[in-house]
């Protein structure tokens, strides 16, 4: 993707006339944007049919008491070969189509979003939600990430999932996920976004619980869905408020009117943005709703890479960036968003220090990096947030896929020897670098990138977020200036933690003495090319991906290669049509950001240099320190018994707190409602009425002796009584 971007940039630079991103209206007809969405859907349908076909055969075998082995014959069955082409194929087509449109959009200097309406989805006399998509610079970046990284991960999956019985089902889910993700980022309003929003949640649920016969995995899927729905509740309410304020849910209608309709800093816009943040926190795993993401690692590793690192979990960041105008109007919400972000970054980073499952470390790392993105979005650095989203997609997808290659290799090796050791526990690894040279190399690149070391991608994006926090902390009339200063310090510290836990992961996995079982060691091998090629592509992106947005202030310094890069602030300019109104609002409210850091002073170049040097020092120091340590295999290791280590090992007890504080009380209340209110109170009353009637009837029946003469006697008495009444009461 970047090479194409660079090529176009070169072409644009060569062309005479206004600068490449000068704002001017231009007619631009996107090429079949609907097809970009439709392709993965078609892939889903095709793979889905194959999956059902395969499942029918599998079920027949299971019913007969055995297991279906599709790989038993000489040739793989069609259900396990076609998805190889359909799954990545539709992604490749969608990516190419996106690229084409990207180039078209670039050439057109698009000013206003292009909205294409397919049909009216929900229409009443007061509310219209169209099934429409919107193409603008922001959605284009997201589409590129989703289809590009998505394509690579699909290719990787071909190798990773090769021997899985549910191969076609896996690709069906994956395609469906991409479909919903594209709906999310391309939707022209909050209504459409919500379809994608819940849809990706569904796919996440299905893919986490992909190995559904495993109770733990299926529990994890369920947890993800329910926690996500807590966020969706906020999203829904935000939509209601938006509808009440604007009478529409379309982006165009809302963002054009926002400044006029809403009181800056007022209760309405603050509630809207806070509720949207609740939605974003659910989807993007922010504290305290982050609890589902580490569990979500139960899914296949490429799924973790695609959904729980590169795309779905960043949807919240996308939404906040999309709603940038609203957030700029609500400084309190911004402070909350940034606060949650930085808190999440810190908490998750600390937990990552003490995890031993390689995927869990990466999961907490993802949560932490998402926190950085929210910090960026919160302080109004929407471009920086999207920038970090993009670079994070590269290096985190790479880390997950690399971890997938490791797990794949470990799993095979342990499987060969019949061992039941945990293939994901880093205490069982060590010294893998000799066996998996490519994987080791690319993962080191990703580690340096995420640690924020110059000139890798993560350095530029993370540094920009941290710097903007500092800069806005010093803005003249920022009501939360001191808070921003705190955020800045915490973010700096967290960045160093990142460098530490990632180095720990690399050392424990690839370096030192091998702790793999003696017999299994020989079976460890590098992944096949279908898996390593995507890794290499992602590694290239992790190195150069940051160069598309070197800040102006840095570009002439040593960290910016003294202006040798052609694309200084490219992303910033590219996203300007989307973010400029938010920036305008924010500057109007808070004044200009300051150009020196709070407390200590110093400019952007100095702090960038400082941070990369500090990170490099941490990596080097931690590497030496950890290499010297002895690790015992997981089976022999004991959990830390006391102190901070124990708290971190147990993830700050979030799950336990939720269980005791929320889940169990609701369950108890549910049981109480059923056993007491329904059964005792309501039905008790109903049955009482019934039994009372029956009792009264029984009492009355005692008067029925069965003697005709008694009846005659009572009858006579009755007649006498009536006659008497008639006579005497006249």
């Amino acid at each position: 993707m970047l090479s194409a971007a660079a090529a176009t940039a070169a072409a644009a630079a060569a062309a005479p006339g206004p600068g490449p991103l000068a704002r001017q209206a231009a007619d631009w007809e996107p090429l079949l944007p609907g097809l970009i969405i439709l392709l993965p859907l078609l892939g889903f349908i095709a793979n889905g049919i194959l999956a059902l076909w395969a499942a029918r055969q599998s079920s027949a075998a299971v019913r007969a008491g055995g297991e279906w082995d599709p790989f038993a014959g000489d040739r793989r069955p069609l259900t396990h070969t076609l998805p190889t082409w359909i799954g990545p194929g539709v992604m490749a087509l969608a990516f190419l189509l996106t690229l084409w449109n990207f180039e078209g959009m670039w050439a057109a200097h698009l000013d206003e979003p292009v909205v294409e309406k397919f049909w009216s989805w929900i229409v009443t006399s007061t509310l219209t939600v169209d099934a429409a998509i919107q193409l603008d610079q922001l959605s284009m970046i997201m589409m590129l990430v989703v289809t590009g990284v998505g394509f690579l991960i699909h290719v990787f999956s071909v190798g990773y999932m090769r021997d899985d019985v549910g191969y076609p089902r896996y690709f069906a889910y994956l395609n469906l996920f991409v479909f919903f993700m594209l709906v999310l980022v391309m939707g022209a309003g909050y209504g459409m976004m919500f379809i994608g929003w819940e849809g990706v949640g569904l796919c996440s649920y299905l893919l986490i619980g992909y190995w559904f016969t495993d109770r733990e995995k299926s529990d994890a899927g369920k947890k993800a869905f329910i926690v996500n729905r807590i966020g969706d509740f906020g999203f829904l309410l935000a939509m209601f408020l938006l509808y009440q304020a604007f009478g529409t849910l379309e982006f165009g209608g809302i963002f054009d009117e926002a400044e006029g309709q809403l009181v800056a800093g007022g209760a309405v816009v603050t509630s809207i943005t806070l509720l949207l943040m609740l939605g974003a926190a659910g989807k993007s795993a922010q504290v305290p709703l982050h609890v589902w993401l580490p569990d979500a690692m139960a899914g296949p590793t490429p799924v973790s890479a695609l959904i729980h690192a590169a795309t779905m979990v960043t949807a919240g960041v996308y939404m906040v960036a999309r709603s940038s105008v609203l957030y700029a109007l609500a400084p309190t919400s911004q402070a909350v968003v940034a606060g949650i972000g930085v808190l999440t970054a810190l908490i998750a980073a600390t937990i990552a220090l003490k995890q031993y499952d390689i995927k869990k470390v990466l999961a907490y790392s993802t949560v932490s990096q998402l926190g950085f993105m929210f910090l960026g979005a919160g302080v109004g650095a929407f471009t920086a947030a999207i920038f970090h989203l993009m670079t994070h997609a590269f290096f985190k997808a790479l880390l997950f896929l690399g971890a997938g290659a490791v797990i794949h290799s470990m799993h095979h090796a342990l499987h060969r020897t019949g061992s039941h050791e945990d293939a994901q526990d880093m205490r069982n690894m060590g010294g893998l670098r000799t066996r998996m040279r490519i994987t080791c190399a690319v993962m080191w690149i990703a580690t340096l990138a995420i640690a924020g070391i110059w000139p890798f991608a993560g350095f530029f994006s993370k540094d920009e977020i941290i710097w903007y926090t500092a800069a806005w902390a010093g803005a003249e009339s920022n009501p939360y200036g001191w808070l921003y200063t705190v955020y800045w310090l915490v973010a700096l510290a967290t960045a160093l933690l990142t460098a530490f836990y990632m180095t720990r992961l690399m050392i424990m996995t690839f370096h030192g003495a091998s702790r793999v079982e003696q017999g299994a060691r020989g079976h460890l091998h590098e992944a096949p090319p279908v898996m390593t090629v995507p890794l290499i592509v992602l590694a290239v992106l992790s190195v150069f991906g940051g160069w598309v947005n070197v800040p102006e202030a840095l570009s002439d310094s040593v960290v910016g290669f003294f202006g040798a890069l052609p694309m200084s602030e490219w992303l910033h300019h590219w996203l300007e049509p989307v973010t400029e109104s938010a920036a305008g609002v924010q500057v109007a409210a808070m004044g200009d950001p300051s150009y020196s850091a709070p407390l200590f002073g110093g400019g952007e170049v100095m702090w960038a240099l400082l941070s990369t040097l500090a990170a490099a020092a941490v990596v080097a120091g931690a590497g030496r320190f950890l290499l010297a340590r002895k690790y015992v295999p997981a089976a022999e290791a004991a959990a830390p018994s006391s102190g901070l280590g124990r708290i971190l090992y147990n993830k700050w007890y979030f799950d336990e707190i939720f269980d005791r504080g929320v889940v169990q009380p609701i369950l108890a209340a549910s049981r109480w409602c059923w056993k007491v209110v329904d059964t005792v109170l309501i039905d008790g009353f109903v049955n009482f009425v019934g039994n009372f009637t029956r009792l009264a009837g029984w009492l009355a029946s005692l008067f029925q002796t069965g003697q005709a003469t008694t009846y005659a006697f009572v009858l006579t008495l009755g007649v006498l009584a009536i006659l008497g009444a008639a006579v005497f009461l006249q």
Partner: protein, 554 residues
């Protein structure tokens, strides 16, 4: 197509409504006159034919008109001004189509389930269809009441004869609960009849009834109780889980998909237009919203801890109908339309869920969730249908459930934000009750040997579920055709409520006689002749009036 169907008014439009009511009866006679082993097939064919015929309504129906159409009326009991009059509008057309669709599907789904007394069963199913269709089509209150009560009888027997172990308790509970409500409604109907001064039971006559706010509140209470029990609203719901659990599969399907809708249909058709003053009374609105919201949360919670899958789904019905209640009493276009879509969606998705549970019961003779697990491995098609239906039931966007709940909530939010906020937590709790059930049935280890023989969907079962699943997705993706057809009628109801409330307010102030005038005829179309036409002539009404008094002395 519309023009084509309308170009033959002498044909389709004239007889279709009568055919929908009476063809099931003809089928009933046919079933009774044939041998038992042919009963199921015959019943399916008759109800299928009714469904195909009813499809024409989609086009014969004029989407731009908010009043009744295809009206026809025949005097029935002239002395009391009772007419056999049918009509259809944007509210009832969907209910009728839902009925004609669900009945053949329920019958098709019962082929393996019903083994005893098949003739009687299928005859009762057809009778039930006639009653339900009649409820939705009747434009005469007396006729409506007859149909409303008529549905009770076959359902009572279906639960009581073909039900599970506690069927007698469930059937009697069902019967008594609903009978209490409908008797109150009968009293209210008679009160309106005698106080309206128009000696007619026609819908228009009742609309023009001249009621003070106090009267309206009492009558509203009686009607609301009758319909509320049917819906059922919290806390009048406890008959529903028992009836559902004990009823045979087709009975549960009809009960959930259709009979519950009669309650909410009554809200829209009678409660709001008849008592506009009461419907806008703050206390009334508060009470209805509170029970609606309470139903959503409470039923979701109780559903989550049920060990019996059928009971779980029964409670989810209460939660879903809570959305209808709040949507209706929000008194906004979005709320009312949302309520109607939830009604359709719930009819489709919950009907499908009961069918799926019935299939599970046929295979394993158990309804307990814990008796299953890992079914997805042996029955992939079944699992797929189950998951899609469950997702539609919890309102995932792209399925019918979402459109309805979203509109109902947004409509409620417009006027009663707090109620909508609390009700929206139902979105979370829906996942909380449904997903664990899905997991414990379809996922997890296939650890019970009996479940290994759990066969996948048969071809017949695919035909049972296919249309419902398709409908869930269709309404979820493209609800426009539904929304545009119901909009004018919903608007008419709202206008009537607003005008009527104003009129009621004026009348209580002035105590005058002109109070009804402002509110009359907001709803009926211009050519609503038959009801107050020559059938009940003003001249004959007074002379016949004395004959009606004996009834009044009771």
């Amino acid at each position: 197509m519309t023009s084509f169907v309308n170009s033959i008014p002498g044909l389709y439009g004239d007889w279709i409504l009568h055919a929908l009511v009476w063809l099931p009866v003809a089928g009933l006679v046919h079933v009774l006159a044939s041998p038992a082993d042919r009963a199921a097939g015959l019943a399916f064919r008759w109800s299928g034919a009714v469904f195909i015929l009813s499809l024409g309504l989609w086009w014969a129906f004029d989407p731009g008109d908010g009043g009744f159409m295809l009206e026809s009326s025949v005097p029935w009991i002239e002395a009391w001004g009772v007419n056999y009059s049918l009509g259809i509008d944007g509210i009832s057309v969907f209910m009728v189509l839902l009925t004609t669709l669900v009945t053949p599907i329920a019958i098709l789904g019962s082929f393996n389930y019903i083994k005893r007394r098949r003739k009687a069963f299928y005859a009762l199913m057809l009778l039930l269809q006639m009653g339900v269709v009649g409820v939705f089509l009747a434009t005469d209150i007396f006729l409506f009441y007859v149909f409303f009560e008529l549905t009770l009888v076959p359902m009572y027997f279906i639960v009581g004869i073909w039900g599970g172990e506690r069927r007698i308790y469930a059937a009697v509970k069902f019967f008594l609960y609903t009978a209490v409500g409908s008797l109150l409604m009968l009293v209210a109907i008679l009160y309106m009849y005698f106080s309206s001064g128009v000696d007619s039971f026609s819908y228009e006559a009742f609309l023009s009834a001249d009621l003070s706010l106090r009267e309206q509140l009492w009558l509203f209470a009686a009607f609301a109780l009758a319909f509320g029990i049917k819906v059922p609203i919290f806390p009048l719901h406890t008959w529903l889980p028992d009836a559902h659990v004990e009823a045979p599969t087709p009975g549960s399907v009809i009960l959930a998909s259709l009979l519950l809708k009669m309650g909410t249909y009554g809200f829209l058709r009678f409660l709001l237009p008849f008592f506009p003053g009461a419907a806008q009374h703050p206390t009334v609105v508060t009470v209805m919203l509170v029970v609606g919201v309470a139903g959503i949360i409470y039923a979701a919670w109780v559903a989550a801890v049920q060990p019996d899958a059928k009971k779980l789904v029964a409670y989810t019905s209460v939660a879903h109908m809570g959305f209808v209640v709040i949507g209706v009493f929000a008194l906004t276009v979005n709320g009312l339309q949302g309520g109607l879509v939830v009604m359709i969606s719930h009819g489709v998705s919950t009907g499908a869920l009961f069918l799926l549970l019935g299939m599970m019961y046929e295979r394993r003779h158990s309804r307990l969730i814990d008796d299953f697990g890992g079914i997805g491995r042996v029955a992939p098609l079944f699992a797929t249908a189950f998951v899609i239906t469950a997702l539609a039931s919890i309102g995932l966007p792209g399925t019918s459930g979402f459109v309805g709940e979203f509109l109902a909530l947004i409509g409620t939010f417009e006027t009663h934000a707090l109620a909508a906020i609390i009700a929206a937590t139902g979105v979370i709790f829906a996942a909380y009750y449904m997903l664990p059930m899905v997991q414990r049935v379809l996922f997890n280890e296939l650890d019970k040997e009996e479940n290994r023989n759990f066969s996948d969907l048969s071809r017949r079962e695919m035909w049972v579920l296919g249309p419902l699943v398709a409908l869930m997705i269709w309404i979820g993706v493209q609800p426009g055709p539904f929304l545009e057809r119901m909009e004018p009628s919903v608007q008419a109801v709202l206008e009537r409520v607003e005008d009527g409330a104003m009129a009621a307010a004026e009348s209580t102030e002035t105590d005058g006689n002109e109070r009804a005038d402002a509110s009359v005829r907001a709803l009926p179309p211009a050519d609503s002749g038959p009801a107050d036409g020559p059938d009940v002539t003003p001249a004959s009404a007074p002379t016949l009036a004395p004959t009606t008094t004996p009834g009044g002395e009771d």
